[in-house]
């Protein structure tokens, strides 16, 4: 006897790369059967008709900022968890750029306890690579791994001292720990609020060349070659960074790369008259970059799409553009924004789910992110066509700094399941 049977669904299988019509059965929190032919459906306690909507593995989102500890008024595990569930995100991989940084086992344990109490979805925390994210001394990588850290990163603080980075990477490698880098040359990008070019110059904004990203990536690749570390670039957003990434992969280095949903769906001109909700780090790029990055996701050169969910309160965004805080919330808009790429014909659905579920899960060694028997029943049912006008006041996050406010979007989550239990159902 199955616990739940989801019938009449379009199953998105990121591993096999297809969309097939069928049913999926869940038992003991795991996927127990997938039926795509005429064979009889197993008996189940509860049968849910998906009405020919899509059923996919839940999203595994690397790089979510939950503002605990330190800035709970911006986002808590409770609100982030609700936003994730409403957005089809079943695993949040959280960032350590909190205040204070998550750089010791005690803080990490606090975070894990808070997540367990408050968040309805899976939460896997990352920890800082260096103490205080200051780039001087490595953290207790071993203890933090034991305490449950799934990866190590200083987030947007680039470890400028290559000697410190080299030692941290070598030490992390000895423990098999994954390190996330932020490819950016800190000298070039200091003080920048936009990508350099005609638009930034006309707006009079301090700007950085996208070359800074390539320089940062080149440096990190050299460090990987030196240390053999497991490395993931958090956000590749510039076309010029793609050739070195491709070469590093061809050379067999243990490197993967991600990008953010905003850099895949928006460009520098969207800032228009200093709209601070479009201020991101790295800043939005030119349209040619956006197209190149989308193509790199389709070809698999870029492995992962993240929300880079970064809550900011109204106060920190209601400032002149240069002075305003960077970042945007995206847990709830990740899926509909990804549907823009699908509807535009630039990335197909199985590839999107490879980048949003399968690849991040594989990179972190998780059994989730796939429609396979025995995998956790972390699932999302959604309608990729359902239209709506984005209203930021309806978001579950405490902070509502989304650049998609007022945008016409398509793609609504109908239900989200974590280990076979419903955590969100659209009313």
């Amino acid at each position: 006897m199955m616990d739940i049977l989801l019938t009449n669904a379009k199953l998105i299988d990121p591993e096999a790369g297809g969309v097939t019509f069928g049913a999926l059965a869940v038992r003991d929190g795991k996927i127990a059967a997938i039926i795509t032919d005429d064979s009889p459906l197993p008996a189940a306690r509860e049968t849910i008709d998906c009405n020919r909507k899509h059923l996919a593995p839940g999203i595994v989102d690397i790089g979510v900022k939950v503002c605990e500890p330190g800035e709970r008024h911006k986002e808590s595990f409770g609100t982030a968890g609700l936003a994730a569930a409403a957005g089809g995100v079943t695993t949040m991989v959280t960032r350590p750029d909190t205040d204070p940084a998550i750089d010791n086992p005690e803080t990490l344990e606090f975070v894990i306890r808070r997540a367990r109490e408050a968040a309805p979805v899976n939460v896997l925390p990352m920890a800082a690579l260096t103490k205080g994210r200051q780039g001087r001394e490595m953290t207790e990588i071993g203890f933090l791994l034991d305490a449950g850290a799934v990866a190590f990163t200083d987030c947007d603080h680039v470890v400028t001292d290559s000697k410190v980075l080299g030692r941290a990477l070598a030490y992390a490698r000895s423990l098999g720990a994954l390190v996330l880098g932020h490819p950016q040359d800190p000298g070039l990008s200091a003080g920048a609020a936009a990508t350099s070019g005609k638009f930034a110059s006309l707006r009079g904004l301090p700007a950085v060349s996208p070359m800074a990203e390539r320089m940062g990536l080149d440096r990190d690749i050299a460090m990987i070659e030196m240390t053999g570390a497991r490395y993931h670039a958090d956000q590749i957003t510039a076309a010029r960074a793609l050739p070195p990434l491709e070469r590093a992969k061809q050379n067999g280095f243990d490197i993967t790369a991600g990008t953010s949903i905003h850099h895949l769906t928006l460009n520098a001109l969207d800032v228009a008259d200093y709209r601070t909700f479009f201020k991101l780090k790295p800043p939005l790029r030119d349209e040619e970059d956006r197209l190149a990055i989308a193509e790199a996701v389709q070809t698999g050169l870029i492995d992962v799409i993240s929300s880079m969910h970064t809550p900011q309160d109204e106060e920190s965004k209601r400032l002149p553009f240069e002075a305003a805080a960077s970042g945007a919330v995206a847990l709830e808009t990740l899926l509909p924004a990804a549907m823009q790429l699908f509807h535009a014909g630039s990335i197909d659905l199985p590839t999107l789910w490879r980048a949003m579920s399968l690849n991040p899960a594989k990179r972190l060694g998780l059994p989730s992110g796939r429609l396979a028997i025995g995998a956790p029943a972390d699932l999302v049912v959604f309608d990729p066509h359902a239209p709506f006008v984005m209203d930021r006041t309806m978001l579950h996050s405490k902070s509502r700094n989304t650049p998609f406010d007022g945008a016409r979007m398509q793609g609504k989550v109908i239900a989200t399941y974590v280990a076979g239990a419903p955590v969100y159902q659209r009313s």
């Binding site: 070019g197 110059s201 002149p320």
Partner: protein, 314 residues
């Protein structure tokens, strides 16, 4: 009337015929300002607040005089001294002022876009007196008026803008205005002082001043904004003066009747030779100051007319 804006935030938003309307009115105010009796009544009964978040003597004095000559009640607020240090945000400051019912708000701010942000939050007309390295519209308008009066036209001129283009809001506004009026614009300066993407601006770029000045009608010098420099844009002041400072030798490459402009305040001996700046046959720098008052009177007059129309309709 061909000027229908609520605010004057930048040249970017103006159409060529609106620029002409404003300059025509400013011409009338030049006449008024040269008369013995200098009072107009266009702003009578209105309140003008000058909010300067950045030091300014000349621009603030010019706006103050323009308001007073047209009968406005003018108040100056030195913002860097007061609320900023108390941690009040720009928007809070704007809301506070808005509650005092000003009619014209003149704002200068060190951040690009800050004046746009403020304009979204208040009910009065906002004039941008310079925001970061974005725009300084009244400066470009006064430069345009000066050129039009000296050259008899404001189109099909060869105009060189020289110096620190990257950090200059004056350069931005002038490039936009002079481009809209169909002039040929050359930018002259070292590559470290040129903004990114400059090749898409529809201008010619020179790093050799002699070549750049060849056959131009107007030479606009910019102040070398040393206070804005992160450091290290140029090797030294003396090398800069040698290569990009305007002196009689370099000016000889321009047309014989070319005029020399500078928005002030000047660094004599850094970007311009002192004697040249004072040469009444070539330099129109003092005219620029005079045109400044007239242009600001015209801008506030036009905005006040629109303000009264909107209020009358409400």
């Amino acid at each position: 009337m061909t000027f229908t804006h609520r605010h004057l935030l930048g040249i970017e938003h103006l159409r060529p015929e609106e620029i002409v309307t404003l300059l025509d009115l400013a011409d009338d105010y030049v006449t008024l300002n040269r008369a013995a009796e200098k009072h107009g009544a266009a702003l009578a009964g209105l309140t003008q607040i000058n909010m300067f978040f950045e030091n300014s003597t000349r621009t603030q004095a010019s706006f103050e005089l323009a308001g007073k000559r047209l009968g406005a009640d003018v108040m100056n607020m030195a913002m860097q001294a007061s609320s900023i240090t108390k941690g009040e945000t720009l928007i809070d400051t704007a809301m506070t002022l808005n509650a005092m019912h000003p009619d014209l708000l003149v704002v200068r701010h060190p951040h690009s876009g800050a004046v746009d942000l403020l304009a979204q939050k208040v009910n009065c007309a906002v004039l941008n007196a310079g925001d970061g390295r974005h725009e300084h519209p009244t400066q470009a308008l006064l430069d345009a008026l000066t050129i039009r009066r000296a050259k008899g036209r404001l189109h099909r001129l060869n105009i060189a803008i020289c110096g620190d283009i990257a950090h200059s809001r004056v350069a931005r506004s002038n490039i936009i205005l002079l481009g809209k009026m169909e002039n040929r614009i050359r930018l002259i300066g070292p590559p470290t002082l040129m903004p990114a993407g400059i090749n898409e601006f529809g201008v010619e770029v020179y790093d050799n001043m002699q070549k750049g000045l060849d056959d131009v009608d107007v030479v606009m010098m910019l102040r070398l904004q040393r206070e804005r420099m992160d450091g290290g844009f140029i090797p030294s002041e003396r090398e800069y003066y040698h290569r990009f400072g305007l002196d009689a030798d370099k000016l000889a490459h321009a047309k014989p009747d070319a005029i020399v402009m500078h928005p002030g305040p000047m660094n004599r001996g850094v970007e311009i030779d002192g004697t040249l700046a004072d040469d009444i046959n070539r330099s129109v720098i003092q005219d620029q100051v005079e045109m400044g008052v007239a242009v600001r009177m015209a801008a506030m007059d036009l905005l006040a007319r629109n303000l009264r129309t909107v209020r009358g309709a409400a």
